[in-house]
Amino acid sequence: MLSIKNLHANIEGKEILKGINLEVKEGEVHAIMGPNGSGKSTLASVLAGRDMFTVTEGKVTYMGHNLFELSPEERASEGIFLGFQYPIEIPGVSMVNFMKTALNEQRKHKGLEPLSSSDFLKHMREKKELVELDTNLTNRSVNEGFSGGEKKRNEIFQMAMLEPKLAILDETDSGLDIDALRIVANGVNKLKSPHNASIVITHYQRLLDYIIPDYVHVLYDGKIIRSGGKELAFELEEKGYDWLKKGITV
């Protein structure tokens, strides 16, 4: 589904991704861990098409497309969803309007008719229940005045609404209380199918108690320096990152 080969990216001349390799297949869950500033969010942004980063080298193939030939909105409509580490506020635009526009744009891209208002509302009600989202939030402006946890939950709600093929969740667990964490994890698990995949960026092993990853990768200084199974997360929790750093051969 997603194949990243030797990906290099920089911002304002500063190299941040220094040769990433990653293969994600349908049905898989990948966890990416790594210290602050190692480039996790940058990787997510580059995959989503944020143009402030410049890709200098490497190749990314997604569902048979050269990913870099697709605009951000095309990537979204082709099923890439990014759960933002810091969700953006859009004053004056209601969540309902925002989601309706997004959903119908994606449908248009796929050659489908827009959803009728009643179908849309039904779809929204279902998904809201799934992520136990407060009814009020969808009537408010996008993320405006939402608490940290509400913003994160809202990201999962949007993911549920848009039913992506590849979900990239950037620290969606940070700032969540334990109930919210369970709900978010539940949301992710319910959307899991043999046809889609997720990349979960996190600092905490506890999320991985709920979302069982097939692979865990450690991103350090713009490179994946270690990949392993679920056990790797426990090891990191116990030992931190230092023992891995020592092992790097430059």
């Binding site: 951000p72 969803f81 953006i88 506020e89 004056g92 209601s94 309007n97 526009t101 994606q106």
Partner: protein, 489 residues
């Protein structure tokens, strides 16, 4: 601006149907018209009056105004750069040729004219109206047709062209014309008073709620011609009317002058709601051509508990100079001003309002939303004046500016003069930018940049758009997005 009732309740959908970024109303109608020679002098003023077969008092009014104007200078205080206008190079009267003069039945109107208004979305055929809107359709210097005149007359409502009102209701014209905007008011008001050619007149008698929206649609068609129209609305005690105004013009490389006057009088307990969607040709991307829109709009809340509410969506014109205002004379009277002004490319707008509190317990609300893009300049200029006897008066002003890009300007010039200690005046202002991160967030959900801007801008302007009658609101939303197309990315 189209006045037709848009059937889709689903306003959001509209945003995505819009793909065309061109000015849609830029066509010219090929119709024979009768124009007088270029230039302005007393003879021209007399000629206009004569063509309209006006009573003596009108000619006198025009001549006084003209003589006054000759002594005046064009105002320079606005934050606008206007090339010098050669007033001798303008045609002051141009009328599409018509078979019959006076009130016309539909069959007597030139099919070309009918087709023009159809193309603009304005049906002159009453049968074809889906909704309750009566239209006075004005092209260049004259009113082409006023619909629903007869059925409104049954309620005692007078709705007709200004010229007709001069003939049929001279007493009302004599009494009210110039009573809110005297010809001495300003340069363009004096010019208009001298050469105005048509416009609309509306009179709602005591106790009558006008059952349909009344509207005037202004269309400039002829080249090298100025448009000078006047609208006069009088609401007697306990009367109510909602009035709409729309305007468009062909795309031309030369600038054209539009200098209008709107006067509103609201007596005891009367409520007049006046909405404008101004979509004159804005000029091209490089600032070539476009309408100079210099307009004086003012309402007088003459009676107690009266209310005048202005709502404007300004997207067109190369230069806009316009301050719809309220004189709050009656005790407990209320004035409102809700405005969205969009400037893109090289457009300039200096717009705002004046709220003059004279009566006791008077209230005013100002909500101004400026949106600037491209190389444009957008200024809010507003005066809140509370006179000595306006005890217990209140004003709340909110002026927001939204910037798209970094080559445009947004400016706020609030003037506050309070001579009464028991009154409260509040002013809030914000400036914001559409952030790249907001656009990217939308993109990431599948929304194209243009649609994202439409969504954000309409969200920003919602408070004002909600004040428009439904028929206008949907079109105005579309218009906002079209006006800003190509402004980011």
């Amino acid at each position: 601006m189209q006045l037709r009732k848009v059937m889709e309740k689903d306003q959001d959908k509209i945003l995505h149907e819009v793909t065309q970024s061109e000015y849609k109303y830029g066509f010219v109608t090929d119709i024979e018209s009768e124009s007088i020679a270029k230039g302005l002098n007393e003879d021209v003023v007399r000629l206009i009056s004569q063509k309209k077969n006006e009573p003596e008092f009108m000619l006198e009014f025009r001549l006084k105004a003209f003589r006054y104007w000759q002594k005046m200078k064009m105002p320079e205080w606005a934050h606008l750069q206007i090339p010098e206008i050669n007033y001798q190079d303008i045609i002051y009267y141009s009328a599409p040729k018509q078979k019959a003069s006076g009130p016309k039945s539909l069959d007597e109107i030139d099919p070309e004219l009918k087709a023009t208004f159809d193309k603009l979305g304005i049906s002159l055929d009453e049968q074809k109206h889906l909704s309750g809107i009566a239209v006075d359709a004005v092209m260049d210097s004259i009113s082409v047709k006023t619909t629903f005149k007869e059925s409104l007359a049954d309620l005692g409502i007078i709705f007709c062209s200004f010229s007709e009102a001069v003939q049929e209701h001279p007493d009302l014209i004599k009494k009210y014309m110039g009573s809110v905007v005297p010809y001495t008011d300003n340069y363009f008001a004096a010019l208009n008073s001298a050469v105005f050619s048509d416009g609309s007149f509306c009179y709602i008698p005591k106790g009558v709620r006008c059952p349909m929206e009344l509207s005037t649609y202004f269309r400039i068609n002829a080249a090298n011609t100025g448009q000078f129209e006047r609208t006069l609305i009088v609401a007697e005690d306990d009367a109510y009317v909602s009035y709409l105004e729309g305007c468009t013009a062909p795309r031309r490389d030369e600038n054209q002058l539009h200098a209008a006057i709107v006067e509103i009088i609201a007596n005891n307990n009367a409520f007049v709601k006046y909405s404008t969607v101004q979509n004159w040709y804005p000029g091209d991307k490089n600032g070539l051509g476009g309408i100079y829109n210099f307009v004086t709009k003012r309402g007088k809340c003459a009676g107690e508990n009266s209310k005048i509410s202005w709502t404007q969506v300004e997207t067109g014109s190369a230069v806009t100079w316009k301050y719809p205002s309220c004189i709050l004379l009656g005790n407990n009277s209320v004035g409102e001003f809700y405005s969205v002004a969009v400037t893109n490319n090289h457009q300039q707008a200096d717009t705002g309002t004046k709220m003059i509190h004279i009566g006791k317990n008077t209230k005013s609300t100002i909500v101004s939303k400026g949106i600037s893009a491209g190389f444009s300049n957008n200024s809010y200029r507003g005066l809140v004046k509370v006179t000595k006897n306006a005890t217990n008066s209140r004003n709340y002003s909110q002026c927001d500016s939204l910037l798209l890009g970094d080559k445009c300007g947004a400016h706020t010039f609030p003037y506050i003069e309070v001579d009464n200690k028991d009154s409260i005046v509040e002013h809030e202002a914000t400036t914001s930018k559409i952030g790249e991160d907001q656009i990217f967030y939308c993109n990431q959900r599948g929304i194209k940049t243009e649609d994202a801007i439409g969504l954000i801008v309409n969200g920003y302007a919602k408070e004002v758009l909600n004040k428009l009658p439904m028929e206008f609101a949907v079109e105005a939303q579309k218009l906002l997005q079209i006006s800003l197309e190509g402004s980011v990315g």
